[in-house]
């Protein structure tokens, strides 16, 4: 009940007129940018991060929560209305959603996505309220070796689960870890890998890395293979659901929520796996009309994955807020946002800044409601956004990328660094290296280093002190399993592929 009182306090913070306006701005901007094709949730958050800098922390995080949910939501509109494959987490929605839209049921597809996101988001945020204090109670006793083991688990899980090729996932992780090393060592004050460039002494700001890998990398990649035909956008009116659609949707919403939340909370879980599982389960459970329609645009195939997608977004916040552990690229950028304000998510955050944390959680509930109210009538407007001519869209992304990075330190050298990271992002896209491990490695790397050195210092340099605590031993074992399971599987699969 304690957390219930704190949540009420959070609502008191979030419901002030100023903060409501920030939440509304966040939700609207998040959806608007998220709807734009080629821009996934992670890039949305990265591009909009600089806007929050001039706002006090509590309001900034309320705005940020809106951007986070808005960006998630915007992506599904794109995949339903636009007739081309999109980024992976909303690709499953596109399978049935796009076919529904083509058959003239775009309004219903968007409505089941919007209401499903609302239902899943609300339930999952409720689960977050229940789960967060429990995890905090558990994590309060964590020592440095436990945090190090957690980071290692996040590294291996995100590298091997999110990528079809483990070595490519690890390569991406290594690139991120290297970027994280640049700058002054926090414990001894020694400069590392700065190449004598003074701007590198403070390290490369995470905004530059995220914007470079996501935005500039995407623009260069698009430049190399731009689809020159006009985009086919399916026209849509006001989104609504008929009676039969309601009865077909509510069970998939709940099942999707149940799948999405736990997967979102796991390292390397992300949104891809639960959305895919939800799609497969709904397909198996489909009876009657649904069975006939599956593959041609069944509403269950939109309702379930969309709910799973949103529930996993809330699930991601559990390890992020309670342990400071990002499990997706978007979460890694959120962690960076906390660090910009000198805040370190973890058990202490709930003790030291309860107003901020609970204000943010309360605004997740509000943001969800705002999204529902905004998106049902505004669907035709978002559909118009999809018509933005592509040259303007990508030129605009570059302009805002440059703006966000220049706004940090007014340095043109950082624009060059941005470009170099953009080239790296381009190469990674071109050759199928996942971007998420790089972002997580860059943000979590320095933390892993500090905890590792602390743990070894306490253990007087004895390596076995890293596995002395049972929690650390279990986490490291899971980390190794996550790394080697795909390798072993591949080893057995190889002879058949070569033949």
């Amino acid at each position: 009940m304690d957390s219930f009182m704190l949540l009420l306090d959070g609502f008191a913070t979030a419901l002030t007129p100023v903060n409501l306006v920030y939440a509304l701005i966040g939700v609207t901007l998040g959806t608007l940018v998220g709807v734009l094709p080629g821009i996934g949730p992670a890039m949305t958050v990265a591009l909009l991060l600089p806007i929050t800098f001039s706002v006090p922390p509590a309001s900034a995080f309320i705005m940020f929560a809106g951007i986070y949910y808005g960006g998630m939501y915007g992506g599904s509109t794109t995949s339903i209305l636009l007739n081309t494959p999109g980024e992976s987490s909303s690709m499953i929605t596109a399978l049935e959603g796009n076919k529904m839209a083509k058959r003239g049921r775009a309004a219903q597809a968007l409505a089941t996505a919007a209401i499903g996101s609302f239902v899943a988001g609300t339930i999952a945020t409720g689960l977050l309220v229940v789960a967060a204090p429990l995890v905090v109670d558990f994590a309060i006793s964590f020592g440095p070796e436990d945090y190090f083991a957690l980071a290692v688990l996040a590294f291996t899980a995100v590298s091997s689960v999110l990528s079809r090729s483990v070595v490519r996932g690890l390569a991406s992780l290594g690139l991120g870890l290297t970027v994280g090393l640049i700058g002054i060592d926090q414990q001894t004050g020694q400069a590392r890998l700065t190449l004598g460039i003074p701007q590198l002494l403070d390290g490369i700001d995470v905004v530059i890395v995220a914007v470079g890998l996501f935005a500039v990398g995407e623009v260069l990649y698009v430049a190399s293979r731009l689809r020159h035909s006009d985009p086919e956008v399916i026209p849509v009116g006001r989104a609504f659901l008929g009676r039969s659609d309601w009865s077909r949707s509510w069970r998939p919403w709940l099942r999707g929520t149940a799948l999405g939340f736990p997967f979102g909370a796991l390292p390397g879980g992300g949104a891809e796996i639960p959305t895919f599982l939800s799609y497969a389960i709904e397909k198996r459970l489909a009876r009657g009309v649904a069975r006939e329609e599956y593959g041609k645009g069944a509403i269950e195939g939109v309702a379930g994955p969309e709910a799973a997608n949103n529930a996993s977004a809330a699930g991601t916040l559990v390890p992020l807020l309670t342990l400071g552990l990002p499990t997706s690229a978007t979460a890694a950028i959120m962690l960076a946002a906390f660090q910009q304000y000198g805040l370190q998510p973890g058990p202490q955050l709930f003790d030291h800044n309860p107003a901020l944390v609970w204000g943010m959680i309360a605004s997740l509930f509000l943001g969800n409601t705002m999204l529902l109210v905004l998106n049902l009538p505004l669907a035709p407007l978002w559909a118009r956004v999809l018509h933005v001519p592509r040259p303007y869209l990508y030129a605009g992304i570059m302009l805002f990328a440059a703006l966000g990075v220049y706004a940090l330190n007014s340095s043109w050298v950082e624009l060059i660094i941005l470009y170099v990271l953009g080239l790296l992002g381009f190469a990674m896209r071109r050759f199928g290296l996942p971007v998420a491990p790089a972002v997580i490695g860059m943000i979590l790397g320095p933390m892993a280093e500090i905890q590792l050195r602390r743990a070894l210092a306490i253990g007087a340099g004895d390596v076995t002190s890293l596995v002395k605590s049972p929690i650390a031993a279990v986490l490291l074992t899971i980390a190794l399993l996550a790394l080697f399971t795909p390798l072993i599987r591949k080893w057995f699969a190889r002879p058949s592929r070569a033949a």
């Binding site: 094709p37 999109g86 290594g174 698009v222 040259p391 303007y392 030129a395 070894l456």
Partner: protein, 178 residues
């Protein structure tokens, strides 16, 4: 690290030989390998000041560097043996199209020129030129229309961010005017 330099996607998608040293992805793999060496060599000058336990500022970089060497090696072997990643899919990407090297180079040149000239020209002029240049390179056909949008966009962002959000952007040539 400049993957644009080499072969087009179409040629490589063919049923080429399983073993090849001429894959563009090899450059990325070798970059990872080289970076491993760089991390280890580049931190050689960082003297472990405090601790006698080997936990100084070089401890973690050496781990990361060694891991990069190992990963780079496996990656290179995988590429040479014919492994490949799937190019990322995105709404506006035509994965079947051959790589358009020229556009990538032009986009790069325009952006780098923008970075170099920003402080001199100021945000409004440099930003408008950036938007205009990139739009034209990416296929905008109506020049006048594009130019108007470019000027509007850079002026509006300047006003919104400098006057509204208190962000510092260079005034440049127009600093007295606006």
């Amino acid at each position: 690290m400049f993957p644009v330099e080499e072969s087009t996607g179409a040629a490589e998608r063919g049923a080429g030989p399983a073993y090849s040293w001429r894959r563009p992805e090899l450059i990325l793999a070798l970059t990872v390998l080289g970076l491993g060496g760089f991390v280890i060599a580049g931190t050689a000058g960082v003297t472990a000041a405090g601790s006698a336990l080997g936990l100084g500022p070089r401890f973690f970089p050496v781990i990361v560097g060694s891991a990069l060497l190992l990963i780079g090696l496996f990656y290179a072997v995988d590429v040479v043996r014919g492994g490949r990643g799937d190019p990322e899919e995105s709404e506006d990407i035509d994965t079947q199209a051959p790589a358009d090297r020229r556009t990538v180079v032009l986009v790069s040149v325009i952006f780098l020129a923008f970075a170099g000239l920003l402080n001199l020209l100021g945000w409004i002029i440099a930003g408008a030129l950036l938007f205009f240049g990139l739009s034209v390179v990416l296929g905008a056909t109506r020049r006048l229309h594009t130019a108007v949008i470019a000027i509007l966009l850079s002026t509006c962002t300047y006003l919104a961010f400098v006057k509204g959000l208190g962000v510092t952007l260079p005034g440049g040539l127009l600093s007295g005017v606006i």
